[in-house]
């Protein structure tokens, strides 16, 4: 099958959502389906909405309840978050809600902006002044129990699915849209750079710009933009250059180290990882930033192709990450590090 390709964008869950499809005639259907899926995701997992399921759960857990019957969608998201924690050996932890809020990220980021955010392609700032923050017990995720749709939480614990929900949303939106629009051709969904695909790629694979600039440009001070080809699977980037704000006299960002409850402060500033699912790719890219000096060894163990940018702007490649431009990313067989179900349709 061949046909023209089309791209469209919508705004949802506080970020820009890009949908690319072929044949082009599927774009309207795909955009509508992706929008619906993200609206559902927001109602399930947004910690910035008081009426979201996870906010209600948080309030109830504060009031003493500890066992909850979840919707299938939220159970799926929490299951992915816990799988990410196991996979990353605790480097990505969904129980960091209080720590992230303590850093000032307790509302939609566009509102945090008013409090001094420096989101964009800003260079890392050398503000090392540290305001002491409450310590965070490590391994909180081990105390969360999920059995099907039944969840048991330690009293008072707040979940923050921010590290995985958006990527999982990208997986779900791609799968839903592909199925809802006839299951033909190919489709790519990018949620603020968390990219999932479904169906057949274009000839040679989906061309993706891996960049430290949101518009893919080679801005001064940023690492060189590389174009890679994604034939299947997903790709995600985590960066400490974006979603930055001032708090307590210093510049902080949203990548929090569960071991300290503080923003990750390792030798890497940006990590891009390819994986079978976007949830896996995003968990790995976040974990790599948190892992710091151990990121390389940890990535080698996973076998996932990755590109890390150091705080000095130098790029390092891991696994089968391509060296040049316009080269395909090879995902070795047997990946699927989560041991969790791959892209599935929650509503199916």
């Amino acid at each position: 099958m061949t046909g023209e390709m089309a791209a469209g964008e919508i705004a949802a869950i506080g970020t820009r959502v890009r949908v690319v499809v072929w044949p082009a005639g599927l774009l309207s259907c795909a955009l509508a389906t992706v929008g619906e899926e993200l609206d559902r995701l927001d109602r399930e997992a947004s910690r910035f909405r008081t009426d979201s399921e996870i906010s209600r759960l948080r309030a109830q857990n504060r009031d003493g309840a500890s066992v909850f019957l979840l919707s299938p969608g939220l159970a799926d998201l929490i299951g992915v978050a816990l799988a990410a924690a196991r996979f990353s050996e605790g480097l990505v932890d969904p129980t960091l809600g209080e720590a992230v809020a303590a850093l000032g990220y307790d509302r939609d980021f566009s509102l945090v902006t008013g409090a001094g955010a420096t989101d964009g392609s800003a260079r890392p700032e050398n503000d090392k002044s540290v305001m002491p923050l409450p310590g965070h017990p490590t391994g909180g995720w081990r105390r969360v129990e999920l059995s099907g749709r039944l969840l048991r939480l330690p009293p008072g614990m707040a979940l923050d699915l921010g590290a995985t929900a958006k990527a999982r949303g990208s997986d779900r939106a791609a799968a839903e849209a592909f199925a809802a629009c006839g299951g033909m051709g190919g489709l790519l969904v990018s949620l603020g750079g968390d990219i999932a695909t479904a169906g057949e790629p274009p000839a040679g694979g989906w061309p993706i710009a891996v960049s430290e600039s949101p518009d893919g440009s080679d801005a001064p001070g940023l690492s060189r933009t590389q174009v890679v080809r994604l034939a299947a699977g997903s790709i995600a980037t985590s960066s400490t250059l974006l979603r930055r704000w001032h708090h307590g006299g210093r510049t902080v960002h949203h990548i929090v180290d569960p071991r300290t409850g503080q923003p990750a402060d390792g030798p890497w500033r940006t990590a891009t990882v390819a994986a079978p699912t976007c949830a896996e790719a995003n968990a790995a890219s976040t974990a790599a930033l948190v892992a710091g000096d151990g990121a390389g060894a940890w990535l080698e163990r996973t076998g996932l192709p990755a590109r890390l940018v150091g705080t000095d702007g130098a790029c390092s490649h891991f696994g089968s990450w391509p060296a040049g431009d316009d080269e395909p990313i090879f995902l070795p067989p047997g990946l699927g590090a989560f041991g969790y179900r791959a892209v599935t349709r929650v509503g199916a």
Partner: protein
């Protein structure tokens, strides 16, 4: 009476009864087989003509592959397809997406149809409220 004119009636053996049994069944079977083959031949001919027409249409030099697409009156295509290849989707030369970490878009929660958000690519008319925020 001259009986010489009289001829003994000749015996014309009666046509045997219509065949029954194995022979009849075999004949019927053959007829059905011929009809069956004819139907399949016709179907194959139709499919073959259709496939050949499609292949010729796509292979024609004048086949347009411009990737710019209009959605609800707003041009949204930033990708371009520059030709067709066999066995897969269109050929795309430029990046179709950027992965760079979380991007933040500020959109009023009561966006009106036709409004646009931030970014270099115009948004389609369909907008959704900006609610929540993801991390990556």
């Amino acid at each position: 009476m001259d009986n010489d004119m009289y001829e003994e009636p000749k015996e014309y053996p009666l046509r045997p009864d219509p065949p029954f049994g194995a022979e009849a069944r075999a004949r019927g079977e053959n007829l059905r087989r011929v009809r069956h083959v004819s139907n399949w031949s016709l179907a194959a001919l139709v499919v073959g003509v259709g496939a050949a027409s499609a292949a010729i249409a796509y292979a024609a030099p004048g086949h347009s592959t411009s990737g710019v697409t209009t959605v609800n009156g707003t041009t949204t295509g930033t990708t371009t397809t520059t030709g067709q290849t066999t066995g897969s989707g269109p050929t795309v030369c430029k990046p179709v997406a950027v992965t760079s970490g979380s991007q933040v878009v500020t959109v009023n929660s009561c966006s009106t149809p036709g409004s646009t958000g931030t970014g270099s690519t115009p948004l389609p008319a369909t907008t959704y409220p900006s609610q929540g925020g993801g991390d990556s």
